[in-house]
């Protein structure tokens, strides 16, 4: 059975919320449709967690409208909570429980019946490959179970009883690379089964395979939103990255954008400039002026960093650079 409803999974309409003088959310609007995974990106303090708290009805907006699966989350938070399952950024309360116990309890708190719950826990144990730890008790102060297993347990707790809306706040913190992939696939699967997923993460590099749409927040406002292709702009953009050396200054080719970070320089170029650029880079490397270089297509992380570094490009993404 699919969970699709005629309503959008999440509608956030012009949400304002301040803490004292700080405008944490300053007119945010976004929507998530059933079957979609929408990535919510933004630097620390961009207003992501404030927005999530309002969507799950724990925080009241100063103004604006929030609907989850057709239910007004501001006026009727109790009904809204039945539509939304959330994995919050802090660890879920697994202390004193085994992952099996914690996941079972979560399912039953949402009305799961015993015969279903048992089967669902087994399925999740395989899906996330946490079976070896399934019956190991989490003890106080991080003993018994590692942070990664606790995080995966907390993900399992939030998905074990399917809801039309799923909000995940940094679900992969502490999780190893292999299980991060399993988790991303699990997230995608929930959307394919009909849930609308809002995914808050800093892990930009890993989510481009599973998100349908991105919303980028900065200082409480949406600075860009759209599909990855829309945000990426013209598909003939590539990136030349190099490290070391002293090659700043005029280049014998056209550069769209320059981004420096930690001793590395990334140049955004149009495809027709690539030949001149690589010829240049090979010569610089031969002359010992740079250590190494690479050419790559624009990744989601490149797009994100470009957008947040140059807010004046606005909501049109890279299309106008």
């Amino acid at each position: 059975m699919r969970l699709t409803t005629q309503h959008p999974a999440i509608v956030v309409d012009d949400i304002h919320r301040s803490f004292g003088k700080v405008k944490a959310n300053n007119g945010i609007s976004l929507s998530v449709e059933p079957g979609q995974v929408v990535g919510l990106l933004g630097h620390n303090g961009a207003g992501k967690t404030t927005l999530v708290s309002q969507i799950v009805g724990l925080l009241k907006p100063d103004s604006g409208r929030i609907h989850v699966a057709g239910v007004d989350a501001v006026a009727d938070p109790a009904r809204a909570r039945r539509q939304v399952s959330v994995q919050s950024q802090s660890q879920a309360p697994v202390e004193g429980l085994t992952p099996r116990g914690a996941i079972e309890i979560s399912a039953k708190l949402r009305g799961g019946r015993s015969e279903y719950v048992e089967q669902a826990v087994e399925a999740l144990a395989d899906e996330l490959e946490i079976r070896p730890w399934l019956d190991r008790r989490a003890l106080p102060e991080g003993a018994g179970l590692s942070g990664g297993i606790r995080r995966l347990t907390s993900f399992a707790m939030s998905v074990v009883a399917p809801t039309p809306v799923l909000v995940l706040d940094e679900p992969t913190n502490d999780v190893d690379a292999h299980r991060r992939r399993l988790l991303w696939s699990a997230v995608r699967r929930r959307a394919d089964e009909g849930a609308g997923v809002l995914l808050v993460t800093h892990n930009v590099a890993e989510i481009d395979q599973i998100v349908d749409k991105l919303v980028i927040l900065e200082k409480g406002t949406v600075i860009a939103q759209g599909t990855i292709d829309e945000l990426r702009g013209p598909s003939d953009l590539v990136r030349l990255t190099y490290s070391g050396g002293d090659v700043d200054g005029k280049k014998p080719f056209l550069v769209e954008k320059v981004h420096h970070s930690a001793g590395r320089t990334a140049l955004t170029l149009r495809m027709e400039q690539l030949e001149a650029a690589t010829t240049w880079a090979i010569a610089q490397r031969a002359a010992g002026r740079l250590e190494s270089f690479s050419v790559s297509p624009m990744t989601l992380e490149d797009v994100y960093l470009d957008l947040t570094a140059n807010k004046d490009t606005g909501a049109k993404g890279l299309a106008n650079v």
């Binding site: 938070p77 039945r82 309360p93 429980l97 949402r110 399917p162």
Partner: protein, 255 residues
């Protein structure tokens, strides 16, 4: 997974949800329960033996007074000191956010906690009576019905007030308030000593605080000489109702 989706019910049965919630609470408190019971034993022994040092050659009347005060002290300590510290830990480690994000009625979140903490607190009464009777070789005349009723009311009142404190005040102040309450309960409340040893104005303050009424009611259930007074029960009831109302309001409130 998808065929199993249908098994999730739109409006779950309250009973099944409550049992699941109790399992969660008990698992979390379970780690602490042996510790809390040990602390109760230590406190009981400490008060009975320790106050015995303060008053050499203690007479039977004084020993009885002291012994019948200790159950009240333990119940108040669990409700007003242990409960707020545990709840505030829940606020800081994210458990409270998780619980509040669940589609579980707010009254149920509170009720589950009250039940678990009553189970943790009530053995303290037995511990205190046992330690006092053995050490001083007393034979108390216990009215069992009254003892059970009074213990329940005191534990409920203390837990409700402690809970209200923990969810209404800023986290840092909760810990401080709980620590101050240790001294208020142990040293500045006429629980293990008679009220007439306090200055007059302080006695009238204690007419309205829950400590002396709780102690007097408990004593009435353990000795023949003191009477059960309805107005004292009323004071406790008012504190309990205020505590419950504040707790519920804080759980339901959106910041």
């Amino acid at each position: 997974m998808s065929n199993a989706t249908a098994v999730i019910v739109e409006r779950p049965r309250d009973g099944a949800v409550f049992v699941a919630l109790l399992r969660l609470y008990l698992a979390k408190a379970g780690v602490q329960i042996p510790l809390i019971v040990s602390v109760q034993v230590l406190l009981a022994v400490g008060m009975i033996v320790g106050f015995g040092f303060l008053i050499p050659d203690i007479a039977t009347d004084e020993a009885t007074f002291l012994t019948t005060g200790v159950p009240t002290t333990l119940l108040l300590m669990v409700g007003l000191v242990f409960v707020p510290q545990e709840i505030v830990k829940r606020r800081t480690d994210g458990t409270m956010t998780y619980l509040r994000s669940l589609p579980v009625p707010r009254w149920m979140l509170l009720m589950g906690d009250l039940l678990v903490w009553l189970v943790v607190a009530l053995p303290g009464v037995a511990i205190a009576i046992a330690v006092g009777s053995l050490y001083f070789d007393l034979s108390l005349s216990i009215s069992w019905g009254l003892l059970i009723g009074v213990s329940f009311v005191i534990a409920l009142m203390a837990t409700a007030v402690g809970y209200a404190m923990a969810v209404s005040l800023p986290a840092s102040q909760v810990v401080l308030a709980a620590q101050v309450l240790v001294f208020v309960i142990l040293l500045f409340s006429p629980i293990a000593f008679p009220a007439d040893r306090l200055p007059g104005w302080f006695q009238s303050v204690h007419d309205w605080l829950p400590f002396r009424p709780a102690a007097d009611l408990m004593r009435a259930s353990l000795t023949e000489g003191s009477d059960f007074q309805v107005d004292q029960l009323l004071v406790l009831a008012v504190w309990a109702v205020v505590g419950l109302a504040l707790s519920l309001a804080a759980l339901a409130r959106k910041k």
